[in-house]
């Protein structure tokens, strides 16, 4: 069996709104193995996005540990965490979040601006990532000249371009029509199957979760079940 890439131990996240405390995650313990494609499911407010944010290093737990490849993410300084995210995490969001004034190729290049790659190497990497998501013919288009599905594929290419350890996707099909959603989910499944990418998908859509290898359910900040194998899509 593969070693756990992500080890979550007794993880709690509490938000404070004035005097009121909201427990978003309550004593979560979870392992995610390398090469997994895990779907985090649950209703709105169940804490699935919060868990994803903590694993991806854009939020910090109140208590507990989140260890990714032997690094306790919560203990890193802001600068070290930013560098860690650049090297280890690729993000895909519900709204595609492309920079509107940059072309698809330039959007994909953004994470590489922080690396020591030469401009030529950056361009080659970005072209390869766009080729991987099937957008070679759209690389010089601005986001407004692309369909929603194409924009999300550019976002996936941007997430992949640094060859990250983890690919995290927060409701990536939420803004897409059924056809585009299916394309995006198939692409994620292919990246997991063929490229061995470890993917964590947050969704409340069972059809989307069906593309994952495993599914876990959260409700009111608690893990409802152990990791279960998802049915084939």
């Amino acid at each position: 069996m593969n070693q756990p890439m992500v080890q979550i131990r007794d993880l709690t996240r509490i938000y404070r709104q004035g005097d009121i405390e909201v427990v978003a995650l309550d004593q979560i313990t979870l392992d995610i193995v390398e090469g997994d494609f895990l779907a985090l499911m649950g209703p709105s407010g169940s804490g699935k996005s919060t868990l994803l944010h903590i694993i991806a290093g854009i939020d910090r737990p109140t208590t507990g540990q989140c260890i990714v490849r032997d690094v306790d993410v919560a203990t890193l300084s802001e600068t070290a965490l930013a560098d860690w995210r650049n090297r280890h995490v690729g993000f895909v969001f519900q709204t595609f979040n492309l920079i509107p004034v940059l072309t698809a190729l330039e959007n994909v290049e953004i994470p590489l601006l922080l690396t020591s790659l030469s401009p030529r190497e950056r361009r080659l990497h970005a072209e390869t990532a766009l080729e991987l998501v099937g957008l070679t013919d759209r690389m010089h288009h601005l986001p407004r000249q692309l369909s929603g599905g194409q924009e999300q594929r550019v976002a996936i290419a941007r997430a992949l371009v640094t060859d990250p350890t983890l690919l995290v996707a927060d409701e990536p099909t939420g803004n897409l029509d059924a056809h585009s959603a299916s394309d995006v989910l198939n692409l994620l499944a292919t990246l997991n199957r063929d490229a061995g990418k470890t993917i964590i998908l947050v969704t409340h859509d069972p059809k989307a979760a069906a593309h994952a290898r495993h599914t876990v359910h959260l409700e009111k900040g608690e893990l409802l079940d152990a990791i279960s194998a998802a049915p084939s899509p």
């Binding site: 854009i58 802001e78 993000f91 709204t95 979040n97 330039e106 953004i110 601006l113």
Partner: protein
């Protein structure tokens, strides 16, 4: 794509706002440059080797008080004095008040030696000295009114109850202010009924080393007299003359400060708007690995670039404009020249740089502190 390219693309995303902001910075820095140049012209008159030798002896109380002519013989006996001339500001009107130019009654035979850096025609000067009602005029004033040698002009007295009728006998150029008119003090005395008074005495020292001692000796000579004197260098005198208009330095400084402060607010507001529109993009940049310092660099570059572009247009626009227009004519002779010096240009660009940095402090601080998850929520 590279980081500078990314900054430029961001700056250009709202072209109308960019143009308006750059123009407002440009206009403000144009104004700043004009004010600084005006202040420079008023308070930093050029100092030549000859002018450094000149001293002005005036009444200790104020320039409005006059001195007895009888002081002249005592002044001429003080060691170190080479020339001493009576010198009275006439302040008359030529046809209309707007035709202002400086007029002085002085000793005709001493003018050329007193202002030896100016170029006088010896023959014309001989004619001027010979003619008691003659005058010598600077080339700029000659051109301004289209005068020529031999023309007769009448100055209407405002400070003094007389209207001298003068014949232009000589023209001078270069070295000193080319707008002045000098006429015989003898003629002035005659017209005013020989009051035995002079506005000031202008002295030329034998050498620069003698000046500190000379200043002390002159004022000591007339201490405890009815009209105590105050002796000062030409430069100090000019500065004091300017100060009669009020504390110009403070006034111009205050206006400049208000301009700069207003521009900081305008630019900060623009940068805040630009950043607020991009909160989700900034959150994404943070998510993909940009840290606070790198984001600060991006924001600072954009703000700095915007201010420097405005500064360049404003400051160098002023430089270009005043190099090509006749400020002397435009201001009816108030400003003889209006030189936007490299020092002023550098000051303007420095203000632009400070503007760029200061205006992005708050937006950048908020960006650095922004929680990524909160930033991402902005879009949902």
């Amino acid at each position: 794509m590279n980081i500078p390219g990314f900054v430029i693309r961001n700056a250009l995303r709202n072209k109308r706002r960019l143009i308006l902001t750059v123009l407002s910075v440009a206009l403000s820095l144009f104004l700043f440059t004009v004010l600084q140049t005006a202040l420079n012209e008023l308070t930093q008159p050029a100092v030549s080797e000859d002018s450094a030798l000149r001293l002005i002896v005036r009444h200790r109380v104020s320039l409005a008080n006059v001195l007895p002519v009888k002081y002249q013989s005592r002044l001429e006996q003080i060691p170190g004095v080479e020339i001493c001339s009576k010198f009275t500001w006439f302040g008359g009107v030529y046809i209309d008040e707007k035709n202002f130019f400086p007029q002085f009654a002085c000793e005709a035979d001493k003018i050329a030696r007193l202002f030896s850096e100016a170029v006088f025609d010896p023959k014309q000067m001989a004619d001027f000295v010979q003619d008691k009602a003659g005058c010598v005029v600077g080339i700029k004033t000659m051109r301004r009114f289209g005068w020529k040698i031999g023309d007769k002009i009448t100055l209407k007295g405002t400070l003094w109850e007389c209207d001298p009728e003068l014949t232009i006998r000589a023209v001078y150029r270069e070295g000193i202010d080319e707008t002045d008119l000098f006429f015989h003090h003898e003629y002035f005395d005659e017209l005013t009924g020989d009051l035995g008074l002079t506005g000031t005495f202008w002295i030329k020292a034998k050498n620069a080393e003698a000046i500190p001692d000379l200043v002390e000796r002159i004022d000591r000579s007339f201490r405890n007299s009815d009209a105590e004197t105050k002796t000062e260098t030409e430069r100090a005198f000019q500065l004091e003359f300017v100060s009669m208009f009020g504390n110009i330095k403070t006034l111009v400084g205050s206006i400049s400060l208000v301009i700069v402060f207003t521009m900081i607010l305008v630019t900060a507001s623009t940068m805040s708007m630009a950043i607020r529109e991009r909160m989700r993009e900034i959150a994404i940049l943070k998510a993909v690995g940009f840290d606070g310092v790198q984001l600060l660099g991006l924001i600072l570059s954009e703000s700095f670039g915007l201010s420097m572009a405005g500064g360049f247009i404003g400051c160098f626009g002023a430089w270009l404009l005043f190099n090509h227009i006749n400020v002397y004519e435009l201001t009816d002779g108030f400003f003889i020249k209006f030189e936007v010096t490299p020092h002023i240009l550098a000051g303007g660009m420095m203000v632009a740089a400070i503007l760029g940095a200061a205006s992005c402090v708050m937006p950048a601080y908020n960006t650095i502190r922004m929680n990524i998850v909160e930033g991402l929520k902005e879009l949902d």
